[in-house]
Every structure is written in C-alpha cells, then in structure tokens.
C-alpha cells in the first residue's frame, strides 16, 4: 500500500508543469480573466470588460510578438482609467492612466517659501512647516510615506496659538494611508466615522465585502481646536485622497482647491505564467456619505492657480486659504 501511495504522490508531483510557454492568446486570456476576477471598479466605471476583450483579443494572432502583446494588454488596462493599475515586464513598465489629464495643476513650494513664509520652522522627510503672515501656520506634506513628525507639528502650532493651520496636500501623490485615522485623532472630540473600506471577496464583479467603517478615536491628551484649511488639487492622489475624504466634514475643517485625483483603490499584485507582473485595484474607500473616492474628493471651495499666477509668484489657492 505504501508503494502505491509513493507512486501516486510522484504522479501528482510531476503532473504540475510550469506554464511559461503559453501562446499570446493564452496569456491574454489569463490576463483578462485575472483582471475580471480581481478588479473592483467595473460597475463604478461602467466599463464593459467583455467588450474590451472582444476588441483587443481580435488583434492577437500567431504573428503577435511579445512587444505587441504587451501593448495590447496595456491598452486593455488603460480602458479601466485607474492610476493604481500597473503592468510590468522585465525592463518595461506600461503607461499608467493619467488622472491629471484635463486639469490645470500649478503649484510650487518654492513660491510659497519665497513669497509667503515669514518664519521657516522645520522640515522632516517630506514634511515642511512654517509661519505665514497674521500668525497663520502652514504645513506641506509632499508624500505620504515619511510624515511621523506630523502630529508634533499640530502640537507646535497649537503652542504658538496660530490663528489657523493650512495643511497643503497639493500634488501629493500618496503613499501609506494607514496612519491617517490615528493622525486625525487630534481633530475629533469623540469617536468619529471617517469613511468605510471594502474589498473584493470573490471572483464575480459584485463579490465585495460589506463596507467596514473606519473610525478615529479622540486623542486623550490633545485636541486641536484651531481652524484647519486643507489645500488639495488634482495631483492629490491615492493616500492623499483618503486623507482629504477622512478630514472633510470634521469640525473646523475646510477643503480648498480642486477635486483630488482620486485613487481610492488599494491594489494587489500578481504574476502571469509568462513572468509579467500586474497590479489592479481590489479595494475601495467610501467617504462619510458612502460615495467612492475613486473619482476624487470635492473641495468645499473650488479654486485653481494658473501658470501665470505661479510664474508671477502668486498662489491664489494659498491666498484663498489665508483669507478664508
């Protein structure tokens, strides 16, 4: 009996082959199916993924080269209009969806430092903070990866009794949003729902988890009771959109600028049998009203700079925040 087991085990073991000699059609099918089962925004974006397959699979034949196939898959993925989606092969990354297209984005931190800052207070990683005229505090975060000093900036600004604090998140392309609820604990007096998280739970398009609300608990030691203005623009993407959605609507908080770039999805990566890598959005974040932030977070007051403004050393968006 033992020897039957061994023979069976070897048979099972050897029957699993590496599938890396698949034809372009098979690779495209693998790609299409994986995206079909894992991508979360088909319904929200009203993309007919079947139609995308019909259109693109027709371009594949026995003469299709690797370069051709990569372009066809790139085109298919771009139909989803999602800046978080990625496709990579050795030595090449596919083009990302340009979520800034059609928007005027003009922002220059140097203009602020030269024209508006009266007292530079500090910088740490991607964080810069300073005082503007009329005792207005200013903090700029250009990336959501190194911002551990953020909380101490709140404390410093509070200690200086600033008249208001401007948090400038313009052109912040995102990073790690995990610590945002904790960061906002200094702005809430009671346990406050900041939004909700959902993710794919199965292969069908509507297989998603019940949205789970994410809360911020008040910081027992510190409450920032000073008005806060958050500056956002179309370049504020991903984790910055999360931040904008979470902070929007809190007491004393006003959002000024453009609609953010969105990017509500958290992506998940995978490797196809030909070795190429892909990542698509598999989770979503809803604002306090239950609306997905994938398309962007709207400001309370809409305003944008022109190129001429910045060239002339003027930041109208910042001035609106100062005078608000």
């Amino acid at each position: 009996m033992i020897y039957i087991f061994i023979t069976l085990a070897f048979t099972i073991s050897c029957s699993q082959n590496i599938d890396n000699d698949n034809s372009p059609s098979e690779i495209y099918e693998e790609f299409w199916t994986w995206v079909d089962q894992n991508y979360i925004y088909f319904d929200l974006k009203e993309v007919d993924w079947e139609e995308v397959k019909i259109k693109n699979a027709a371009l594949i034949n026995e003469n299709t080269t690797e370069d051709d196939l990569f372009q066809i898959m790139e085109s298919s993925l771009l139909e989803l209009r999602d800046g978080h989606n990625r496709l990579q092969r050795k030595g090449q990354s596919a083009r990302n969806h340009n979520f800034k297209e059609g928007y005027e984005i003009h922002f220059d931190l140097d203009v602020i430092k030269q024209e508006y800052v009266v007292d530079s207070l500090g910088a740490d990683g991607y964080l810069y903070w300073a005082m503007l005229e009329d005792e207005v505090g200013y903090v700029n975060l250009s990336d959501f990866n190194r911002y551990r000093a953020f909380r101490s900036v709140f404390e410093q600004m509070h200690a200086r009794s600033v008249s208001k604090l401007i948090i400038d998140m313009r052109s912040n392309g995102g990073g790690d949003s995990n610590a945002v609820p904790e960061l906002l604990s200094v702005l809430v007096k009671e346990k406050t729902a900041l939004g909700a998280y959902t993710e794919k739970s199965g292969p069908e398009h509507n297989d998603v988890t019940t949205p789970i609300r994410i809360f911020s608990e008040p910081d027992p030691d510190f409450y920032f009771d000073i008005p806060v203005v958050v500056l956002i623009d179309r370049g504020s993407y991903s984790a910055t959109s999360y931040f904008a959605a979470m902070i929007k609507g809190l007491d004393n908080v006003t959002l000024i600028g453009q609609v953010t770039g969105g990017g509500g999805g958290g992506n998940s990566g995978f490797q196809f049998s030909n070795g190429w890598l892909i990542a698509v959005s598999v989770s979503d974040f809803y604002d306090k009203n239950g609306v997905s932030i994938e398309a962007g977070v709207e400001p309370d007051i809409y305003i944008e700079n022109t190129k001429e403004d910045i060239d002339n050393g003027v930041d109208k968006m910042l001035e609106t925040a100062i005078n608000y």
Binding site: M1, I2, F5, I6, A9, F10, I12, S13, Q16, N17, I18, D19, N20, E30, N38, I40, R86, Q88, R89, K90, S177, N178, A179, V180, P181, E182, Y197, E199, K200, S201, G202, P203, D207, T209, T210, I212, R213, I214, G266, N267, S268, G269, F270, Q271, F272, S273, G275, W276, L277, I278, A279, V282, S283
Partner: protein
C-alpha cells in the same frame, strides 16, 4: 489550539501507555536538503522550484505495541523564476502521531499536524506593496500507517510511513488583500493592521480533502552504532494543496535528512 497541545503533551508523558518492556525514548536531530516546488495563486501563476536546507528535531516514545512521535521541522526557501519575482518561503511544521501495532511490522494510527506556509514576494517591484504576504496555516488530522522492519539482529531499522489529512482547519486570507476575513468586520478592522492575531486565528475554515489535502510519505534507514545511538537517513515526500478562499496554494517537498538519534 492550546487544548490540543496539552493533550499531545499529556499523551507523550503518560507513563501508563509505555509501561511494558522494551519501551524506549528517542531524541533525534536531523539536517537535510529539501527540494521544493511552490505554486501560490495569490501571487503567481508560475511554479517556483528551489533547494534549501531543512532542519528537524523529533522525539519518539515507543514500546512493543505503541509508538508516539513528535516532530518539528523548519525550512526557509528562497526561490526565483529568473525573472521579475522572487519568493521567500518560511515553513514551520509540527507533527504529532500515534500508532498501534496491528500485526507484525504493520502499525496503524493517526496524526495531528500544524503546517504553516508563508510566502513573501521579495522582488523590488512595487506591484506587491499591498499584498506583501500570502499565508496558509493549517491544522490537520488524519490516518497514518507505517511498516517497520529490523534486520541484522536489530542493528538496522527500516521504516516506511504514509499519512493523509482528512479534516483540517485552514487559515487563508480573504480574496482581496491579505487580511484575514474576520478582520474585515466593523469594529475589528484597523487600517494600521494591528490586532490581527485573534481574527486571524478565528478566520479559518474547516476543510475536507476537496479544499485542503496534505499527503506525506516517509522512508527511513537507521543503523545502530550502539545501544544508545543510531544514525540514519530519512526521505520525506510532502504534498499540500489548500484552496478555502478561491485562490489555491500548492507545495511539494522532497526532503533528504541525515541525523543522529539518542536512545534511552
């Protein structure tokens, strides 16, 4: 889980089971090489093959009619497909088995094991930033059969065993990100990923052979140097397949161990 381990320990130390003559206790240490083949559909549609060192310690308590054994194995496997993705696999395994002699040379019983498979993509691509781990944690029970043979006046021992899991408790991530499904509930979800241990433990599913199967064959050859020491070589084949959440993981190992056993 704690209860299960307590039972195992009590069985191991229970003297009434081993009160007959010719009872022995054996402690073994083994070092070996493992050839692994891994396919984890949470991360890749490719199979990753690699050689890696593997370590094991075991404790066997036996008499003329019963054998109980406790064994821990550990391996860390680095594998690459030669392209964009590399995997680091951590695999701790704990086995407990209990068998009774049914006729000359033939032993029949059961086993319990705790088998963890952790796969980490280790390439530099940011594609896996949000799913940096794939895990399969399983506790299984099932039948085990062994054939033991002694030659040359008990100087040489041959052992062949096979076991297959029948019922398992399997923890695998939910479909999207590698969060345990219990973690994705209101009031429990924490975006900083703190407090995942208990939801992780609770999020497992009972699975039978269609969702989880593990098959293991062991072949051993041992030579007694004296009454208290034997050396030997072990070959183990282990195949495990798990698919409780819609994305399967598969691993097979061929392990060759060299080891020494202290007998008293």
């Amino acid at each position: 889980m704690k209860f299960t381990y307590i039972i195992i320990i009590l069985l191991l130390i229970n003297p009434s089971l081993y009160s007959q003559e010719n009872s022995s206790n054996e402690l073994s240490i083994q070092v070996g090489l493992s050839s692994s083949s891994i396919k984890d559909l949470r991360l890749s549609n490719r199979k990753f093959r690699s050689w890696s060192p593997k370590y094991a310690i075991g404790y066997v308590k036996s008499n003329d009619n019963r054998i109980s054994s406790f064994r821990m194995q550990f391996s860390k496997i680095n594998s690459s497909d030669g392209g964009l993705l590399s995997l680091m696999t951590i695999r701790p395994e704990i086995y407990y088995s209990y068998e009774r002699k049914v006729k000359d040379g033939i032993w029949l019983g059961g086993f319990f094991d705790n088998n963890t498979l952790l796969n980490f993509p280790t390439n530099t691509s940011s594609v896996f930033n949000s799913n940096p781990i794939s895990y399969t944690i399983a506790q299984s029970i099932g039948p085990r059969v062994s054939y033991l043979k002694s030659l040359d006046n008990n100087k040489i021992n041959l052992r062949t065993s096979a076991q297959v899991s029948l019922l398992s408790y399997v923890v695998q991530p939910a479909f999207g990100h590698p969060y345990p499904s219990q973690f994705l509930e209101e009031g429990k979800f924490n975006p900083t990923r703190e407090g995942m241990a208990w939801p992780l433990t609770k999020s497992g599913k009972i699975a039978t052979v269609n969702k989880f199967n593990s098959f293991r064959v062991e072949l051993g050859f041992f030579y007694h140097i004296n009454n208290s020491l034997k050396i030997g070589v072990d070959y183990n084949l282990n195949i495990q397949y798990a698919n409780t959440r819609g994305k399967s993981t598969y691993i097979s190992n061929h392990d060759i161990f060299l080891g020494a056993t202290y007998i008293h």
